[in-house]
């Protein structure tokens, strides 16, 4: 199957797996396998950052690849780590010339039969959530078009992961959104009450509430609720500036 067609089929299967609500690990295993077919590399792997920030090996196209990737993490050096930390692709990493760059990782990867390494970032809004490792064993190097195709795979996988994470935490996120909005609504209403009572601007009203909350070690949302409910008298709030005549 020509490369472009295989790329499209891969991406469609990735998207299909989302529709059927597959596991992220299965999705990324599919991605790793298809990187090998589409890009013509010897092996591919995917690392994702855990919530604490450390990278984990999530998928590898072969056992040899998995061992090398695990070693990369253990020795704390290698193309995927460089890519993740530098937030930039690592391209055409020549393992034979990498004894300074990756003194522990390079020999292990060479022993496993690999010659060239690439790592493509999985980027989301400026943050990098993981990276795709591509290892060549002496075939032709990746062309610029290959790298673009690989990055496209990485980008769609990234969006897919985010969409799936959101779906699995949707109840929590919806609650958080509603709670945040409700608090803000009360704060904005309270600003209006104080602005009117004290002849203040909205900013000054907000500042007055913040000061009151801080001085009394209270939550701003509770202070706002008190202002709106009239359990806190507007007169209790000293204006940072003298009230303007209305």
């Amino acid at each position: 199957m020509p490369k472009e067609a295989l790329l499209v089929r891969t991406l469609v299967e990735l998207a299909d797996s989302l529709v059927d609500d597959f596991d992220v690990v299965e999705l990324l295993s599919l991605l790793a396998d298809r990187c090998v077919d589409v890009l013509g590399v010897a092996a591919a792997g995917v690392m994702l950052a855990a919530p604490e920030g450390d990278l984990r090996v999530v998928a590898s196209s072969s056992e040899a690849m998995r061992v090398v990737e695990l070693f990369e993490l253990q020795s704390d050096e290698g193309p995927c780590l460089d890519c993740y930390r530098g937030r930039e692709a690592v391209l055409n990493g020549d393992l034979a010339a990498a004894d300074r760059r990756w003194p522990r990782f390079a020999p292990v990867a060479l022993d496993a039969g690999f010659r060239t390494v690439y790592a493509l970032p999985m980027r989301l809004r400026g943050a990098v959530i993981g990276a795709i490792n591509l290892f060549g064993a002496g075939e032709d190097p990746l062309t610029a078009k290959d790298v673009t195709a690989g990055q496209a795979l990485a980008d769609v996988a990234t969006i897919a992961i985010l969409q799936q994470r959101v779906a699995s935490e949707s109840r929590v996120l919806i609650d958080q959104l509603n709670t945040a909005l409700t608090s803000r609504v009360v704060i904005e209403q309270a600003k209006g009450v104080l602005a009117e009572r004290g002849g203040l601007s909205m900013e000054s009203a907000f500042e007055a509430m913040r000061h009151y909350a801080r001085d009394g070690n209270l939550r701003l949302a509770d202070v706002a609720r008190g202002v709106v409910d009239r359990t806190l008298a507007a007169e209790a709030f000293s204006a940072p500036r003298p009230p303007r005549p209305s």
């Binding site: 990735l14 529709v19 809004r125 969409q163």
Partner: protein, 239 residues
């Protein structure tokens, strides 16, 4: 194939540096659907809570009308939890939405469609689509809209995902319009008339309706101290 449709839509979202903010999300919705404009309303417990985004002024007006009047394609789509299609607003919209329709048509909307935004079993709002000429969605477009609504819902929640506890997500704070000015005006009116904020909001709505103005515009006037509701007689009373 479901995957191909979803892929085509996912591929329009952006990762990278800028990422996908509210404005771009609405643009993508309008582009994917080949609509004149698109908007996303956030709703909760039968109430419109704000506008996530609108791709142009007419979409913004369509949302504003629904926010002010409490009727329209998005309101219905959210409440009924199913797509609401009006391919010829000028001809038939008046029977569904007596107040919304003439104002939307005057602004240039000839066809309007509302799709609920769902994640799993939960609904968070609705996607607004309009065209400046009448016409139905074909089967492909309808299927695209269903997928797009799901993707958009997740994208919106994704914007809340990294927010500090109790606060709105940064992208929503910066790019969406929750009409806080209406809340501020409610506070001011509640102090002016010595009524609850709930009552104050009702008075603001009544004023907006009586003067045929958007609620947010009336609120802006109150906050800017160009308008005091206590100066206005209650509806039905002579001055």
């Amino acid at each position: 194939m479901a995957g191909a449709r979803l892929l085509r839509i996912l591929a329009r979202l952006e990762t990278g540096a800028a990422g996908l903010g509210p404005a771009r999300l609405c643009e993508v919705c309008a582009e994917v659907m080949a609509m004149t404009g698109a908007g996303i309303m956030l709703m909760s417990g039968e109430v419109a809570r704000g506008s996530i985004c609108s791709s142009n002024k007419v979409s913004a007006l369509i949302e504003d009308l629904q926010y002010t009047l409490g009727e329209g394609p998005c309101v219905d789509a959210y409440r009924q939890d199913e797509p609401v299609l009006e391919p010829d607003l000028a001809d038939r919209g008046g029977r569904r939405w007596a107040a919304f329709t003439p104002r939307a048509v005057e602004a240039g909307a000839q066809a309007v469609f509302g799709f609920p935004l769902r994640v799993g079993a939960a609904r968070i709002g609705a996607l607004n689509l309009y065209r400046d000429h009448p016409g139905s969605l074909d089967n492909d477009q309808h299927a695209d809209a269903l997928v797009l609504a799901g993707v958009a819902a997740r994208a919106v929640l994704g914007m809340q995902a990294d927010a500090p506890p109790g606060m709105l997500g940064a992208e929503l704070e910066a790019g969406s319009d929750f009409r806080f000015v209406v809340q501020q005006a409610s506070g001011m009116v509640s102090a002016q008339l010595d009524v609850s904020v709930g009552e104050a909001l009702i008075r603001l709505r009544a004023y907006a309706f009586a003067h045929d103005r958007p609620l947010a515009a009336v609120a802006h006037d109150v906050v800017a101290r160009r308008l005091r509701l206590s100066d206005d007689p209650a509806p039905g009373q002579e001055r």
